[in-house]
């Protein structure tokens, strides 16, 4: 039982270090960036279960975030449901939509699924735009609900940051628990060899949908956090292109390691700030980084760094570096 705990330790250390940030008197801009990064990371942990463990790539994940965000906003507006109840309810809504989206994956595999999720993302944007007053049309919806915990107002940036960090920690632990469970092993078996897994009596289709639904839960929570942070949501925030950026973040960080989503989310949020780039330049940089990572370090940046570290300082050479770098992010 020692080894599984060692895998989550670095992540927890990083999270504890990040929790000290509000006491370093950061500027509001840094805090806002950190909050956005954290909200994305919650969704990225879901994506890492889907992509890193099961080998399925979703291009419609922002749409699932949107489902969570719209559900929370509409619940607050029409039923007066607050943040803490909206979290589980909206996560369930996102998971329900993931089930609907995931169903075609039973029939079509691999690339078709990617294209389908992409199309679902576009479709949802169109539906939200045409939903009349219920979804606020193209202008979107405002959120007026307060955000409190035991009577304490959580909306000031430093407090909201800690709240988001709490959710990041929760999702990291949840994703770790999934990876080290029997369920996680089943998912990996599907990733490595679908036919073999099926011949062992694993219901491949059901587990694929399952993984997608689980990642939908994460995305839903992330969507609720987003709407409570921005206080205004609109359809374009959840179209296909934000989904591409999510996929890009998880890929840059590396989908299989627990530190990967954390690294990807933080890097993508802060890289432009560090190099003083405008949004257009920074997006070009993201794209170039993604292509470079895929071609040079197919397992993501963190895995690549760890590999290099092992090769330079390891007592014995890494088992088979060539095979490790070839094993790639393929699958689906």
């Amino acid at each position: 039982m020692k080894t599984p705990f060692r895998t989550i330790l670095p992540t927890l250390v990083v999270l504890v270090l990040l929790a000290t940030v509000p006491w370093l008197s950061p500027t509001n801009r840094i805090l806002s960036l950190a909050i956005t990064a954290g909200i994305n990371i919650v969704a990225l942990y879901g994506l890492s279960v889907l992509f890193g463990q099961t080998g399925i790539l979703s291009m419609g994940h922002a749409a699932l975030m949107g489902a969570g965000a719209y559900a929370a906003t509409i619940l607050a507006r029409d039923l007066g449901v607050g943040f803490w109840l909206a979290i589980p309810l909206s996560a369930l809504v996102a998971a329900a939509i993931a089930t609907i989206v995931g169903f075609p994956s039973l029939r079509v595999g691999g690339h078709h699924f990617v294209i389908l999720t992409f199309a679902f993302g576009q479709l949802l944007t169109i539906i939200l735009t045409n939903g009349g007053d219920f979804t606020g049309r193209a202008t979107g919806l405002d959120l007026q609900a307060p955000l409190t915990l035991f009577g304490m107002d959580l909306s000031p940036l430093p407090r909201f940051y800690l709240l988001v960090l709490g959710f990041v920690a929760l999702s990291a632990v949840a994703s770790w628990a999934i990876v080290h469970s029997r369920y996680g092993r089943t998912l990996r078996a599907i990733r490595e060899n679908e036919k073999l897994a099926a011949s062992l009596g694993i219901d491949v289709g059901r587990h694929k949908i399952g993984a997608f639904v689980v990642s939908g839960l994460f995305a839903g929570v992330s969507g609720v956090l987003l709407t409570y942070f921005l206080r205004h949501i609109s359809p374009t925030q959840f179209s296909s292109f934000p989904s591409i950026y999510l996929a890009l973040m998880v890929m840059i960080g590396g989908a299989r390691l627990l530190l990967g989503p954390l690294a990807g989310g933080i890097l993508v949020a802060f890289l432009p700030e560090m190099f003083n780039l405008d949004p257009v330049e920074s997006r070009i940089l993201y794209g170039v980084c993604l292509i470079a990572v895929i071609l040079l370090l197919p397992n993501g940046l963190i895995a690549g760094l760890l590999d290099g570290w092992k090769r330079l300082f390891g007592r014995r050479p890494a088992s088979s570096p060539a095979a490790a770098s070839r094993s790639s992010v393929s699958g689906g």
């Binding site: 029939r107 389908l116 576009q122 479709l123 993201y286 895929i294 992010v329």
Partner: protein, 289 residues
């Protein structure tokens, strides 16, 4: 009845552009297994080249040729420089194409901003036949597409090269043993598909103003059409393109224009649920399991 025919004609012109994209997507996927999501950005670059050329006083036919050549050269460079390295890992190639979307879009924005761009209609004549108005520019787009697609079809089904190409799709290794330069064919098909995207871009901007984000919607429709017809199936792509064009035309004509972009996706999801291999049956690609 006039409105009926009018809507079919209007729908067909935009469907032509989508069919060009779908044919490119289907050809590239059929031989190489590359799902190039950046194909829409290739089209957008074609539009931008046309716009630049026309704004600099070139005539439209010359601008169209420039768009085809520039995008074909770009396709060549990207195939040799990027996609070549991902041939054994199609998922990686797909992710590379996603990165490419972001890069191409924002390079265009960096140099020529994100605003709408348009050129004056290259043909302004409008014929009127029994109450149906036919804009010459729309007719041109339909005719050019029909010619190019027919030509492609004949080359692939009738010529020696086409036969070698189909052999490579069937079984790449055996084809290579028979002396077919499969690697060169892959590059060739990728470049040809890119040229079609360039042509589509030039035709699109002749019809509508475009933005640097136009490629995203068009490529999704292109993929939808390719999947509805059956990925890798040329006839299927053309037929599905026609179906979509007619559906979209009706929708716009009968006051449902805000849903226009939804039909292709809804149709695709429906078709894949009922017939995963597409309406007309397709390959599942050379190495996709």
């Amino acid at each position: 009845m006039e409105i009926f025919i009018q809507q079919i004609l209007n729908g067909l012109s935009i469907a032509s552009v989508i069919t060009l994209i779908a044919v490119g997507v289907t050809l590239i996927f059929g031989l190489t297994g590359i799902i190039n999501f950046a194909h829409g950005e290739f089209l957008m670059v074609g539009s931008i080249v046309t716009w630049l050329a026309v704004s600099n006083g070139w005539g439209f036919p010359l601008a169209l040729c420039a768009a085809v050549v520039v995008v074909a050269v770009m396709g060549f460079a990207l195939e040799r420089g990027l996609f070549r390295f991902t041939l054994d890992l199609p998922t990686n190639g797909f992710i590379v194409s996603l990165g490419l979307i972001v890069v191409l879009q924002h390079i265009v924005i960096l140099f020529w901003n994100a605003n709408q761009k348009s050129i004056p209609h290259p043909l302004t004549k409008v014929w009127e036949v029994g109450g149906v108005r036919i804009a010459a520019v729309r007719a041109m787009v339909i005719i050019v597409t029909a010619l190019v697609v027919t030509l492609t079809f004949f080359v692939i089904t009738r010529s020696r090269y086409g036969r070698a190409l189909r052999a490579s799709v069937e079984d790449r290794d055996t084809a290579a043993l028979m002396g077919i330069p499969v690697r060169r064919y892959i590059t060739g098909v990728f470049v040809f598909g890119s040229a079609l995207a360039g042509l589509g871009g030039a035709l699109l901007i002749a019809l509508f103003p475009i933005t640097p984000f136009t490629g995203g919607t068009i490529v999704m429709k292109g993929f939808a059409v390719a999947l509805i017809g059956g990925l890798g199936n040329l006839t299927g792509a053309v037929a599905a393109g026609l179906i979509l064009g007619i559906v979209e035309g009706f929708s716009a004509g009968y006051g449902l224009s805000q849903w226009t972009d939804a039909y292709s996706f809804a149709l695709m999801i429906l078709v894949l649920l009922i017939r995963p291999q597409g309406l007309f049956g397709g390959t599942s690609g050379p190495r996709i399991t």
